[in-house]
């Protein structure tokens, strides 16, 4: 080490004693004084102040103790209701285009070219149908949901949500800024985990990372929306279906928020004890959303990005599914073996083997859970007349048809509810796990963040199933 450098440090140290203790405050004070003086000289207020301050009035309403939460719920429900009711027609249209028209056409082209059945199977019945399914099921709700969500964000509403939730996080022993990283997690948990960098205390940051998975992400919204539509929405008269489904999805999302608080609280009382830090949360001014730009960015950045990711994972998954359900050992396909093996365990939990297999297949991306479930269900229940038969993804023109199919596959309302619960509380996707590892640099905490939710999920759906069976006999 250079001795000159040492000398500098030493004299700085000595001089610090010389100057006295109020040094730091003095510097900050001078800084603020000068900033304020310079600002004062430059700023003028032409004319009178406006009588009515719209921003402040809105703020008073959306962050009010009484109206804050109800307004938040109302907005969320409205967004989902618009998504669910709006997505129906375009989804049906995409089905008939991609699956009724293009798929048979491709089949006939392949047949005319004399391409072997297994190539045709892998490419058209595996890869193409999986992809077409993902596009048809995910594109319409995303194309409605993301622009709406982005508009809320652009308008400046999200920090108000954080403001409303802040004191609850503090009570749970977590950092108030966790409200922001959680909100980010509603988009993507990997992004949510990265955004915890705004939290400076390592203890609180770990809590935020571990609990981020409870924020329902993009990959899981479509599952929630579909299952809610076909299982919950059909319990009530048709005109109420959309609203009730939307409320079901909102409840699941809120359950996620509740779990975030509970787990944060438990962690901060046990393995991650410590002081709660304070911070300033600035409420940005409301800005009129730039509608066109918002549409553009939410379609490009969010909708297409998420869709692309789903497609990228659906292609190989379709191939794997087709192969595993067409490769027979002793007359039984590999997929069937696996499903039968997991079935007893699944039924005990109020799910079934098909769902568990789907969640294993979907570790890389939650987006493909539903297509996988439907395909395996068709294969396992031997339903005919839907699609082209065993191991082939198929067309379903409406939610009701999906319901019929799943009921034939032995599904009940309990299966639907438990699937929604398990979709909320299970291990993070592989991208998020990898991100957690990169951010924490710790195998231990990555393991905790991965296994804790999946174990909690098993416990929650197990008890839901037991209680359900107790009451329904």
């Amino acid at each position: 080490m250079n001795s000159n450098y040492e000398k500098i440090i030493k004299s700085a140290h000595d001089l610090r004693w010389d100057i006295g203790g109020d040094f730091h405050e003095k510097i900050m004070e001078s800084l603020y004084t000068d900033a304020s003086r310079i600002a004062d000289r430059a700023v003028t207020h032409p004319g009178d102040t406006p009588r009515f301050d719209l921003d402040r009035t809105i703020d008073r309403l959306v962050t009010s103790r009484i109206w804050g939460f109800p307004l938040m719920l109302l907005l969320l429900t409205a967004v989902f209701w618009l998504t669910i009711t709006g997505a129906n027609a375009p989804s049906g249209l995409l089905y008939s285009l991609l699956i009724d028209i293009i798929h048979p056409f491709l089949k006939s082209v392949f047949a005319n070219l004399g391409i072997p059945w297994w190539i045709d199977g892998v490419l058209l019945d595996g890869a193409y149908l999986a992809t077409a399914w993902v596009v048809a099921v995910m594109l319409p709700p995303m194309a409605i949901f993301f622009p709406l969500f982005t508009l809320l964000e652009d308008f400046g509403y999200l920090p108000r949500v954080a403001f409303n939730l802040d004191h609850i996080f503090r009570k749970a022993g977590a950092h108030g800024k966790q409200a922001l990283s959680m909100t980010m997690g509603f988009g993507c948990n990997a992004a949510g985990v990265i955004s915890t960098r705004i939290i400076d205390s390592p203890r609180e940051r770990l809590i935020a990372i571990i609990t981020n998975n409870f924020a329902l992400c993009n990959g899981r919204w479509p599952t929630q929306i579909l299952i809610a539509t076909i299982f919950i929405g059909t319990l009530v008269p048709a005109h109420l279906g959309g609203l009730i489904s939307a409320l079901a999805v909102v409840s699941i999302a809120l359950l996620g928020v509740l779990l975030t608080f509970v787990v944060s609280w438990a962690l901060s009382r046990t393995v991650l004890k410590g002081e709660v830090s304070t911070f300033n949360l600035e409420l940005p001014p409301y800005r009129p959303p730039r509608i066109l730009q918002t549409l553009y960015t939410s379609v490009i950045d969010r909708t297409l990005v998420v869709l692309w990711r789903a497609v990228v994972f659906a292609l190989p998954a379709g191939v794997v599914l087709w192969v595993s359900s067409n490769l027979l050992i002793n007359g039984v396909s590999i997929a069937e073996y696996l499903v039968n093996f997991l079935n007893p365990f699944g039924l005990l939990l109020g799910l079934n083997g098909v769902i568990l297999v789907a969640y294993i297949v979907a570790i890389p991306a939650n987006e493909i859970v539903i297509p996988t479930i439907l395909m395996l269900t068709v294969m396992m229940s031997g339903v005919t007349g839907v699609g082209a038969g065993s191991g082939v993804m198929f067309e379903l023109e409406s939610g009701l048809q999906t319901l019929d199919l799943l009921t034939m596959g032995g599904w009940t309302l309990l299966t639907g509810i438990n699937l929604m619960l398990f979709s909320l509380v299970h291990n993070p996707c592989s991208t998020t796990i990898y991100t957690i590892y990169k951010e924490t640099g710790s195998v231990k905490w990555t393991t905790v963040a991965t296994l804790l939710p999946v174990l909690m999920g098993f416990v929650i759906i197990f008890f839901t199933a037991q209680i359900w069976r107790l009451f329904t006999g």
Partner: protein, 288 residues
């Protein structure tokens, strides 16, 4: 004005995350790799959270990344580039911070870049509706470097709130160029680019304002330390600021003096992250 929409994205050490990131497939992205040598000037973009830094960044680089109306959107650096006049500029979007005292990771990233990355120009984006609070950061940046351009953003909003900012007076008081802009609607960016290029080329010589401490003992101590620092680190342009940080007991700066990093003009900026940066994924709010 000639603008090239060329953008590079900092690659994380392990590409597994980014390679599948669909943002890479967008037509306007052209990865140039991290090659500082190709750029004539490096421009850093600093500012308080939610002042529109990312909007300015997008407007200058042609990137259409998602910008959000909430503080804390950018917690790592994003990089992009543009051509202006004869020169190529690399633009680095720093996390929004209220100060440069490095009490949290985002503040540290911002400060380390301005200090060690030694950008040719540091643009501080300032919210015209909250000038006083924003000036706290500006004054701290001016302590570190005099190659500063102030981008007085959101003047339309200030007007809406019945606030007028005299940017000429501000420029005189601060001793650096001040350019009023409305980045959301691309207004004033031409002037901003001109100011950046003038500071970068040295046409504009700034005489930045330094905070007055009115503390004789402190002034004495600073003078003494500055002398020592300048002897050991002749290349350090901001000895006064280093002295103040040393007196304040800033661990990071003490460390930098101890191992001589302070003298390294070519501080390896990429190493500074060490976090694996998936900036684009983060900024767009979505998955990898």
């Amino acid at each position: 004005m000639k603008k090239n929409n060329q953008v590079e994205i900092i690659e994380s050490q392990d590409q597994a995350g980014c390679a599948t990131c669909p943002v890479h497939h967008a037509a306007n992205l052209k990865k140039l790799g991290v090659d500082m040598g190709n750029w004539d000037f490096v421009v850093a973009l600093a500012g308080n959270p939610n002042t529109g830094k990312s909007t300015v960044f997008n407007a200058l680089t042609g990137l259409r990344q998602h910008t959000g109306n909430w503080p804390g959107k950018t917690v790592t650096r994003a990089e992009g580039g543009f051509d202006y006049g004869e020169n190529r500029y690399k633009l680095v979007d720093l996390p929004g911070t209220y100060s440069l005292l490095a009490t949290s990771l985002d503040e540290e990233i911002a400060r380390d870049f301005i200090l060690f990355g030694q950008p040719d120009v540091t643009v501080v984006v300032v919210d015209a509706t909250r000038l006083e609070r924003n000036l706290n950061l500006v004054l701290q940046v001016l302590e570190i470097t005099h190659r500063v351009v102030i981008c007085l953003n959101l003047v339309d909003e200030a007007e809406r709130h019945n606030i007028a900012v005299d940017h000429r007076r501000l420029a005189r008081d601060l001793g650096v160029p001040v350019v009023p802009t409305i980045a959301r609607y691309d207004e004033g960016l031409e002037d901003l680019l001109a100011a950046i290029s003038e500071v970068a080329s040295g046409e504009t010589q700034a005489a930045p304002y330094h905070v007055k401490y009115n503390h004789p003992k402190l002034d004495q101590a600073v003078t003494q330390l500055v002398k020592q620092i300048e002897e050991s680190f002749p290349d350090v342009p901001n000895a006064r600021w280093v002295a103040l940080r040393l007196l304040d007991g800033d661990e990071k700066i003490i460390e930098a003096v101890k191992n001589g990093d302070l003298g390294e003009l070519t501080y390896n900026v990429e190493e500074m992250d060490g976090l694996g940066v998936d900036t684009v994924a983060l900024k767009s709010g979505f998955s990898l």
